[in-house]
């Protein structure tokens, strides 16, 4: 278990809203090995976004422990969390979250800027990352000159450029049409085959079914953990019955 990339034990995240405690996550435990492609699936309000924020080191848990790549995230200072995100995690967001005034290349370079890398090295790596997602001829375009699929590819290049140990995608196809979404999923599939660890947060059973493994959350608890196809249908069945 010790060499798991992600080790989550009895993780809780409570919010106090209007004097009332909301248990967004209520004792979640699982492990994700290196090279896995795991979907975290759940309805809205199931706690999957909260879990994603914790895994992404954007937030800290109320209780429980979280080890990422052997490091205990619990109790890290804000700067250390920022450095950890920079080094270990590549984010892919539903709304792409590219900087509108920067070119594709500048967007992809950004994580390396925060790593303190020299300009030349940054440039070379960003070009390579954009080439890897098939955007060699779009490097100097701004986001508004790119299609949705291309934007998400830029975002994926940005997530990959720092060679993180984990690719963390939040509804990466949510703002794309079916065909383009399929393209992006194939890209993830490809990345998975090349050894990247991917955690994909989604509410779509169809998408979770594509992943080798899925973890289903309901009301802040894990209610299913197994092969993607099974866990996805489990949800569908529950939806039908429930």
């Amino acid at each position: 278990m010790d060499d798991a990339l992600i080790l989550v034990e009895d993780l809780c995240r409570h919010y106090v809203v209007g004097g009332e405690t909301v248990r967004a996550l209520d004792g979640v435990s699982f492990a994700i090995e290196r090279g896995e492609w795991v979907a975290i699936i759940g309805q809205s309000g199931s706690g999957k976004s909260t879990l994603m924020n914790l895994i992404g080191c954007l937030d800290t848990p109320t209780s429980g422990s979280y080890r990422l790549n052997g490091a205990d995230v619990q109790g890290l200072a804000d700067d250390a969390l920022a450095d950890l995100r920079n080094k270990e995690i590549g984010f892919v967001f539903q709304t792409f979250q590219l900087l509108p005034r920067a070119t594709a290349l500048a967007n992809v370079e950004l994580p390396l800027v925060y790593r303190g890398m020299s300009r030349r090295e940054r440039r070379a790596r960003a070009e390579a990352a954009l080439a890897a997602v098939g955007l060699t001829n779009r490097m100097h375009h701004r986001p508004n000159e790119l299609s949705g699929g291309q934007r998400q590819r830029v975002a994926i290049a940005r997530a990959l450029v720092g060679e993180p140990s984990l690719l963390l995608a939040d509804e990466p196809t949510g703002n794309l049409d079916t065909a383009t979404g399929e393209e992006i999923i194939r890209l993830f599939d490809d990345l998975h085959r090349r050894g990247h660890t991917i955690v994909l947060v989604t509410h779509e059973p169809r998408l979770a079914a594509r992943c080798p493994r899925a973890i289903r959350l309901t009301d802040g608890r894990v209610v299913g953990d197994g092969p993607g196809a099974e866990v996805a249908t489990l949800g569908a069945a529950r939806a039908v019955h429930g």
Binding site: D79, A82, D83, R85, N86, Q97, R115, R119, G162
Partner: protein, 420 residues
């Protein structure tokens, strides 16, 4: 060591990145940037224009004041700076200064290097049909030039013999030479006869050009022996006496003069001096008081405008932080530390302000040049004023940008990413 180097690279690339982001945001919102910096622009423009004009005035004033001897005390009935009518009347009613005072000073003032009387009147100076109507006629002695009153351009100055024999010898000011002997060299006037107040005089020399002193033409004069002056020009007016000394002897000289004059003029010990010792320095002092006050006003006005400008910058930076909340979230997710965000916004506000300062400086210098062109006022731009204008605005940007930047740095990444 390695991590230190990496930290340095990181810090410098963050600063470079910050400036780049700031500039791209500036260009991205030109109108807003312009409006934001308007306060700063106007503030800096005002200060720079006023400072440039004051510095121009200083330069021209100091060059003018140098036509008065720096090491010369002018003994006179009247002080140069009279405060109010009562003081003027008091001075008006003083005993005239005359030969007794002059001779006492010549005899007893051991610190004096030159002593020259200055009897003055106005009158016409003519040669053939050419006339200059109201010329300052100065009666003095051979030491006059040594009290800082210019230098000889042609011929010679008055000699002791001229004075002793009350000769009708005259030395012409540069402008009188120009008007009486137009188009010829100063030498052409030597030995020629001119009429001073109707009395014939022989030109023995001419004085080099001296320029203006506070609007007073220092070249429109003629200089004659004071003995001749007393005899022929008859004025029984009070003498002025110019007494020169080495700069380090000036205080001792002044003490000495006060003693001599009080004794000669029999001023009782309980009475104030009934004469005035005037010095170039007094001009400078009064002048500095005046421009010091102007500086104060300019800086006060500038400060107020800069504060107003700073508040404008703070306001727009707060809006900018709100607008770019998601961008801040993305940057934080990608590994930007709080201080990186802080730095980015601080750089942005100071770059905006510094650009405003640069524009304001340029406009201010332009206004100063315009004023210099359209009015008799001079204008001078010093590099220090320019550096100060830009530097100060950047400081204002830094100061007023710090609250918005702090708010940006304090944003929670999760909230910021979710912000619509």
């Amino acid at each position: 060591m390695r991590s230190f180097r990496r930290g340095l690279v990181r810090a410098s690339s963050e600063i470079v990145e910050g400036v780049r982001i700031a500039l791209s945001n500036l260009v991205g919102a030109r109108l807003r940037s312009f409006l934001t910096t308007l306060g700063i622009v106007i503030g800096v423009m005002t200060v720079i224009a006023i400072v440039a004009i004051i510095q121009g005035l200083n330069a021209s004033f100091e060059s003018q004041i140098s036509t008065l001897g720096a090491g010369t005390v002018y003994v006179s009935k009247f002080g140069w700076f009279v405060q109010g009518r009562d003081e003027w009347w008091e001075m008006r009613n003083r005993k005239d200064l005359g030969r007794r005072e002059l001779e006492a000073i010549q005899r007893e003032a051991v610190h004096a290097s030159a002593v020259a009387p200055m009897a003055m009147t106005r009158g016409p100076v003519t040669r053939a049909e050419k006339e200059v109507s109201t010329v300052q006629i100065i009666g003095t002695n051979a030491q006059y030039l040594d009290t800082g009153a210019g230098s000889i351009a042609a011929g010679r100055f008055l000699s002791e013999v001229d004075v002793d024999l009350s000769r009708n010898a005259v030395v012409l000011g540069a402008e009188i030479v120009d008007r009486l002997f137009p188009g010829s060299a100063p030498e052409a006037s030597l030995g020629k006869k001119v009429m001073v107040n109707g009395i014939p005089f022989t030109v023995v020399g001419t004085v080099g050009r001296r320029g203006q002193l506070l609007g007073m033409n220092m070249d429109a004069n003629v200089i004659v022996p004071y003995t001749t002056f007393r005899r022929d020009l008859g004025a029984k007016r009070s003498l002025n006496i110019a007494v020169a000394a080495a700069p380090e002897d000036l205080p001792a000289l002044e003490d000495e003069l006060v003693g001599i004059l009080r004794r000669v003029r029999q001023v009782p010990p309980d009475k104030k001096d009934d004469f005035a010792l005037n010095r170039q320095e007094q001009f400078l002092k009064v002048y500095r008081q005046l421009t010091g006050a102007l500086y104060g006003v300019a800086i006060g006005v500038g400060m107020i405008t800069l504060v107003v400008g700073g508040i404008g910058i703070m306001n727009i930076m707060l809006v900018s932080v709100t607008e770019r909340t998601r961008e801040i979230g993305v940057r934080r997710a990608l590994g930007a530390r709080r201080r990186t965000i802080l730095l980015q916004f601080l750089i942005e506000s100071s770059v905006v302000a510094a650009l405003g300062g640069a524009v304001g400086t340029a406009l201010g210098l332009g206004v100063a040049q315009l004023v210099a062109l359209l009015t008799p006022l001079a204008a001078a731009a010093t590099p220090s004023a320019v550096a100060l204008g830009i530097g100060f605005s950047a400081g204002v940007g830094l100061l007023f940008g710090s609250w918005p930047a702090w708010r940006a740095a304090r944003l929670d990444p999760v909230e910021a990413l979710r912000y619509e």
